[in-house]
């Protein structure tokens, strides 16, 4: 019996990516079953699957003490590869196949505006919260503000400005909260904010900016909108890394 278990573990671990296919396949099958049985199809199966993924990631982290959710379990290490940036970006690019070029052209300008506005607004909100919590130095306030943009902009800004590692960790956490909330919340707010056409999807992607959040949120709302939202979202982190440690930091310093 112990030998059988040994064989099983060894095979599943050595073929991590394949095991990840099975894991995600089972998780989605269960989610679609829940969707049909419990919600009569009202709550999209993919939305349930993404939420369940996050819940499992929580318990995975609780159990292993690691930072990669279920992927810290040796058996499920392949999930980190399947859900990593390489496959994610590859699949996002693939969704663009057959997207409507004229819709993108039409929303091009407002899409660009939404990116800059999205960075500035999130930064300002994060900075105000940092102030409310008693941070008064421009470097910390700017780093936390940048973290409210995305969890990449935060540490990039913090490192550039020489912020303390505790503040950088906070900025990453703020960005993580944002991305998790966008993933889970988008399907629920979508009807309220008119998120049902390519143009609003581009605006949404530009305002939210978190690639993983937007990717998950749109997948759970309407997969047809994915290419439009993802397109603007991928420019957001770059814009944030550009604006936060420079113009936005200088403004904060001038005000404080």
């Amino acid at each position: 019996m112990a030998e059988l278990q040994d064989i099983l573990t060894s095979v599943l671990t050595r073929n991590g990516l394949i095991t990840a296919f099975v894991f995600v396949g089972l998780l989605m099958a269960f989610s679609y079953w829940l969707s049909a049985r419990l919600t009569g199809g009202r709550l999209e199966g993919s939305a349930i699957a993404i939420t369940l993924g996050l819940v499992l990631a929580y318990f995975g982290g609780l159990y292993t003490g690691g930072s990669k959710g279920v992927a810290d379990l040796p058996l499920l290490a392949g999930v980190a590869l399947l859900g990593g940036a390489m496959f994610r970006d590859f699949a996002i690019v693939a969704t663009a196949f057959g997207a409507d070029l004229s819709a993108i052209r039409q929303a091009g300008l407002v899409g660009a505006v939404s990116i800059v506005l999205g960075v500035v607004v999130s930064f300002a909100v994060g900075a105000c919260v940092a102030l409310a919590f008693g941070y008064t130095d421009a470097v910390s306030v700017s780093t936390i503000g940048a973290g409210a943009a995305t969890y990449i902009v935060g540490p990039v800004t913090g490192t550039a400005l020489g912020a303390g590692s505790d503040v950088i960790a906070l900025s990453v956490a703020a960005g993580l909260v944002k991305s998790v909330l966008v993933m889970v919340g988008t399907p629920f707010v979508a009807p309220l904010i008119g998120l049902n056409n390519p143009q609003s999807a581009m605006v949404y992607g530009g305002l939210m900016g978190t690639t993983s959040g937007v990717a998950g949120g749109l997948a759970a709302t309407d997969p047809k909108l994915v290419p439009y939202g993802a397109m603007t979202a991928t420019f957001y982190t770059g814009a944030g890394c550009l604006l936060a440690p420079s113009v936005l930091y200088l403004i904060v310093r001038a005000i404080l």
Partner: protein, 120 residues
Amino acid sequence: MVIFGVALLAVCMLAGMISGEAIGRLIGVDANVGGVGIAMLLLIMLSNLSRERWQLNVTTESGVRFWSAMYIPIVVAMAAKQNVIAAVSSGWLAVIAGVLAVVVSFALVPVLSRIGRRDG
């Protein structure tokens, strides 16, 4: 052949990533600026062009469509590997900053969409 589609997709992604990296270097930012977005534009232009000039073979197309269909499972895997513990247990500052940023951004979506529609 299916691999032609997969290779076409891969070329678009790499070309986009390289451009994004180069733009980042040019403007002095330590990040990939819009690499995925540029890759998507490339693929969209190729697929729009192909309808007029050269028809992509159905099998070739299926190489791209497979990865497009794998998108949601990949996102589910991405969700399952997030550092949710850090997001939840980092204290109120991070939670409030994250939540407020999302709420304000959500609220701005209809405002900007409306402006865009008026211009268009």
